[in-house]
Amino acid sequence: MLTEFGKIFVFLIFAMLFVAISIFIARLIRPTRPTKEKLKIYECGEEAMGTPWIKFNIRFYVVALIFLIFDVEVVLLFPWAITYKDYGIYGFLVGIIFLVVLAIGMAYEWRKGDLEWARPKPNIPDLSKILKKKIAQPETIEPSADN
């Protein structure tokens, strides 16, 4: 039972040991002379600014959700894909119905625009509006154009 997975397990053990041992040996033989510059967060030579914990775009979440559901679908299709040939046209149809139902889900995502990564609309000020305003009220020109 353990044969194939046993190999993976051995690999796993060795991978962990390898990392642990190399870090341990490195610690033994390296010199430790910390300076302020060295202890800084490495960010490609830039000065690190602010906190790394910023709020991410919600779109990541929707994409992850969709991914998760299709992940489960793939998992269910594996056993089907291995055995359906033994059942002739019936086995084929069973899988196709399953796939069609999920294809509808895909179509839904597509049509509703969940798959598009729409950029926020660039804020180009409308020149004609500004000009009209300028003619009407010369004092209040600039910031309102941002809308």
């Binding site: 019936y90 139902v101 509808i104 179509a107 839904y108 049509r111």
Partner: protein
């Protein structure tokens, strides 16, 4: 699977197939005609009507669908019988009412963009309920409960940008996920003991196998936790008021009627198929002696109705009040099941039929008023009875019927329940239920008092519902009166349907 048996199985689940196809059609329709949302309720109603007609035509069908190969007789994923047909007809009819209900609810129509999702998820719920009602295999039971739950979580939080909506959805999800986890654990314990997920196999095991009473008790309590959550019975009812208050009102009505019906059907079938060893000549069930369902159900029923009724006394929000009242009604119906006889199940069926009509009716009128005045608070109902005479009188009928006072249909439901209890010599329980009914009178009548007797501080608005809505109210209100006097049709229908296939 052999083609013949597959064909038989598919023809047995024809209504479910129709619902599934309609679900897909609605999704596609919404995708193709993005801006034509007017057709969605129509399409849904047609799908439900076709399923309903098919189901009514197959009322006496009996059989096992999707039986596994190489297993003894009486094993099947689904059991199709008239008992299931009764609940399916109830669910389908209630869904049709709810579709119309939804199409007039402002709260739902505000989210124009997502109406397609709304009707799709309603069909997801219906499909889950249909499979729940006839499932006789633990895996299918779990899957259908999940299908129902997943759809209803989203629907409970359907309205956009409303905090109480989001709160309802979140609470529903957390409670639901936990209880379905418990149920799954119970199912896995049962599978570990029985070696099969089939309910008939469970029954055979209980009669012959070597049983550890402790383990079986734990696993059954865990399974009951999952089902009890669906019917909002006592220790698992905490989500009910918050979710019912927060969800869009059409969904609240749907949850309180159809979802509960499916849960009851599941519970009844679970006990009937899994535990009854034989039925004696008077219709009393003889259960395997491993687990005292009667004791558990009586305790839970009394707890449920008492908690429901007493908590309802202090509610000022009508939706919340009706939520507690629906908890109390679940308690009454559990008593009908606790009798453990065909008579008791008959009482549950009659009760449910009537409860569906009057409860949807009450919620519909609350919705009509909320559409106009934007509030469900009881103080805002002051003097409304004179400004909207038909709505006032109809709400009165529904509330009186929910209390169970003659000559309304609610009385008949309670009457049969008490008859069943007295027949089984459960007088003390019957008395407690009766006292509970008296308590419930207070909070139902309080609404009427506000509508007719309290002088409003400001002039109440005139509420003029549209012609269609008035017809809808009459469709629900008139039967509530008629069935209170002439109830033979319900009784005959229910009697015909207390038939379980196979066992």
């Amino acid at each position: 699977m052999e083609m013949n048996s597959l064909y038989d199985s598919l023809s047995l689940i024809a209504p479910e197939l129709i619902i599934s196809v309609t679900l897909l059609v609605i999704v596609l329709f919404d995708l193709i005609f993005k801006n034509n949302k007017k057709m969605l309720p129509f399409l849904s109603t047609v799908g439900l009507a076709v399923a309903l007609i098919t189901q009514a035509g197959n009322l006496t069908d009996g059989g096992f669908a999707f039986s596994p190969e190489n297993t003894p007789l009486f094993y099947g994923m689904l059991t199709i019988d008239s008992f299931g047909a009764f609940f399916k007809i109830l669910v389908l009819a209630a869904s049709m009412l709810i579709i119309y209900f939804s199409s007039t609810t402002d709260e739902v129509n505000e989210s124009f963009d997502r109406l397609g999702e709304y009707y799709t998820l309603i069909f997801g719920m219906v499909l889950g309920m249909m499979f729940m009602i006839s499932a006789s295999d633990l895996i299918l039971i779990y899957l259908s409960v999940e299908l129902l739950s997943l759809s209803s979580y989203v629907l409970a939080g359907f309205s956009k940008n409303k905090t109480r909506n989001n709160e309802a959805a979140l609470k529903y999800l957390l409670f639901g996920a936990f209880s379905s986890g418990l149920m799954l654990f119970g199912i896995s314990l049962i599978y570990g003991m029985v070696g099969s997920t089939n309910l008939t196999a469970l029954n055979n095991f209980l009669q012959t196998g070597s049983i550890n009473l402790f383990t079986i008790t734990i696993s059954l309590i865990l399974v009951f936790a999952g089902i009890g959550y669906k019917i909002s019975s006592a220790p698992f009812h905490f989500w009910t008021p918050d979710v019912y208050e927060g969800a869009p009102i059409s969904i609240t009505a749907f949850l309180s009627v159809a979802s509960k019906a499916a849960g009851f059907a599941l519970l009844i079938r679970f006990i009937r198929v899994g535990f009854v060893s034989y039925v004696d000549s008077e219709g009393f069930w003889k259960l395997s002696e491993v687990f005292d369902w009667q004791l558990l159900l009586v305790i839970i029923a009394i707890l449920t109705m008492t908690l429901g009724n007493f908590s309802a006394l202090w509610q000022d929000n009508l939706k919340r009040m009706l939520a507690y009242s629906s908890i109390a009604h679940a308690g009454y119906m559990l008593l009908g099941l606790a009798v453990m006889s065909d008579q008791g199940v008959l009482a549950v069926l009659v009760y449910f039929f009537i409860y569906a009509i009057m409860n949807i009716g009450a919620f519909f009128i609350v919705m009509l008023i909320a559409n106009r005045i934007g509030s469900e608070n009881i103080d805002d109902y002051d003097g409304l009875g004179f400004k909207a005479p038909l709505l006032g009188v109809s709400l009165g009928i529904f509330l009186v019927s929910l209390t169970g006072i003659p000559p309304t249909a609610g009385f008949i439901g309670k009457l049969y329940l008490f008859i069943a209890l007295v027949d089984a010599n459960m007088i003390a329980v019957a008395v407690i239920a009766l006292l509970n009914t008296v308590v419930s009178l207070y909070y139902y009548i309080r609404v009427l008092k506000h509508m007719y007797l309290v002088k409003p501080s400001t002039e109440p608005p005139v509420i003029k519902p549209s012609f269609n809505n008035l017809i809808f109210v009459l469709i629900l209100a008139v039967p509530t009166i008629i069935f209170g006097i002439y109830f033979t049709p319900i009784l005959d229908f229910a009697k015909q349907c207390v038939q379980f296939f196979g066992v």
